[in-house]
Symmetry: C2
DNA sequence: ACCTGAACACCGTTCAAGT
DNA sequence: ACCTGAACACCGTTCAAGT
């Protein structure tokens, strides 16, 4: 199990700071590799990302990748961080309504991960890249201005992190095709005998993911931020 | 990405209901395989589980496993479900104090997963086995008696699921050796320039995981269960 | 600096065969 | 019913070499 690190090191031989204009563009570049990796991950999922297939899509030999990245792990780290880049305007975040700002931050984060369903499950296992650290920094700032004491800030951020990650990982893994849906329904009907409460709640069937997410978030915020 | 199913099917050729006493014990058994898989997973993590290594530990050829299980996926499913078996007494759960009962259910669930750090990350991706369904059924029952309306039960269960899963997955992946700890500390010190709020909150450093977990859970329950 | 093919050391699993 | 070894079709990555 890879130990958790914070941030990503650049262990490549040497990288020029700015590309010399006279030099011809290399066929491969970190940016192209990462963008293509994201495409491939979106299309085929985590286990669909293979170095040879990635190289194929890029029109290069499999081994060419290894000049740009150290290994497959680094491809995952880079793809993950790229997907977590904040692309919205900063308007919402500077809203005087802190509650609205927190909702925007967390829902945008969640939406970014759901756009790339492989990303959420990956995030807790990998080093925290700069884009996610930026989002957490922003969250901390808003919570601070909302009145969360410095001593409680760590706990507040982690509570929200835990909730967002749990909700998103669960949602992202719950991609049911219609046939799966049907099969699950039949199975649950059968299971209702053994699990009556779950059956009555129609668990796994009528899941209003977004509604549940917002509601739980309200509850957490009510508790985290002292006076309302 | 494997689609989510509910429950696990038994596709093995034929299984006798009760072992004929006169027949000699087979060298392998599902139980031994699963128990050994859990051992191996505990020792080496998800990527450490290999069919050949598992067979080695069992003192058999690699291919012998395939008479008992369909494939590696099934080994994961079975190991996961076995780890989620409830081993406590049912006393706590029948406590008249529903809040205490919910806490016991969720903390025992969380503890079971933390005892096998590979399990939490696996759970949302796999079919729900009978042991986890049993825990959810129990949770639903307690929430019901606590006064949660039937229409809100689905949302209540999922809110808690999301929170527990997020907290546990994050915690389980955060196993820092001392050197990692030190490296992270230095890195964060360096990062404090870019992320001052995070730095001040000592995020990633002073994490009182259990305390944060309980606190957030209190907040959620305050919101989920109407009158206190 | 950047890219390549051959080759190695694995993996999960199929198959045909043993007892 | 239960177990096995040989073999196949992959994988990630090392290496020595090309331009």
């Amino acid at each position: 199990m890879a130990a958790k690190r914070v941030g990503t090191q650049d262990k490549r031989p040497h990288r020029k700071a700015a590309p010399v204009p006279s030099a011809q563009e290399p066929r491969l570049s970190l940016e192209r590799i990462v963008a293509t990796a994201v495409e491939l991950l979106d299309a085929e999922g985590v286990e669909g990302l293979k170095m040879r297939r990635l190289a194929d899509r890029l029109g290069s030999g499999a081994m060419s990748l290894y000049w740009h990245v150290a290994n497959k792990e680094e491809v995952f780290d880079l793809a993950l961080d790229s997907v977590l880049e904040y692309r919205g305007s900063s308007q919402m975040i500077e809203s005087p309504d802190w509650r609205q700002a927190v909702f925007h931050i967390l829902e945008d984060w969640r939406a970014s991960m759901l756009r790339h369903p492989w990303s959420a499950s990956l995030l807790p296992r990998r080093a925290l890249g700069s884009n996610i650290l930026g989002r957490l920094e922003l969250l901390g700032r808003v919570l601070s201005t909302a009145g969360v004491e410095e001593a409680d800030l760590n706990g507040a951020i982690w509570s929200l992190w835990n909730y967002v990650m749990g909700a998103t990982i669960t949602r992202a893994n719950f991609v049911l095709s219609d046939e799966d849906m049907l099969a699950g329904q039949q199975r649950l009907a059968h299971l209702s005998a053994e699990y009556p409460t779950i059956g009555r709640a129609r668990l796994l069937l009528d899941n209003d993911w977004d509604g549940v997410f917002r509601k739980g978030l309200e509850f957490l915020l009510d508790g985290i931020v002292p006076s309302r």
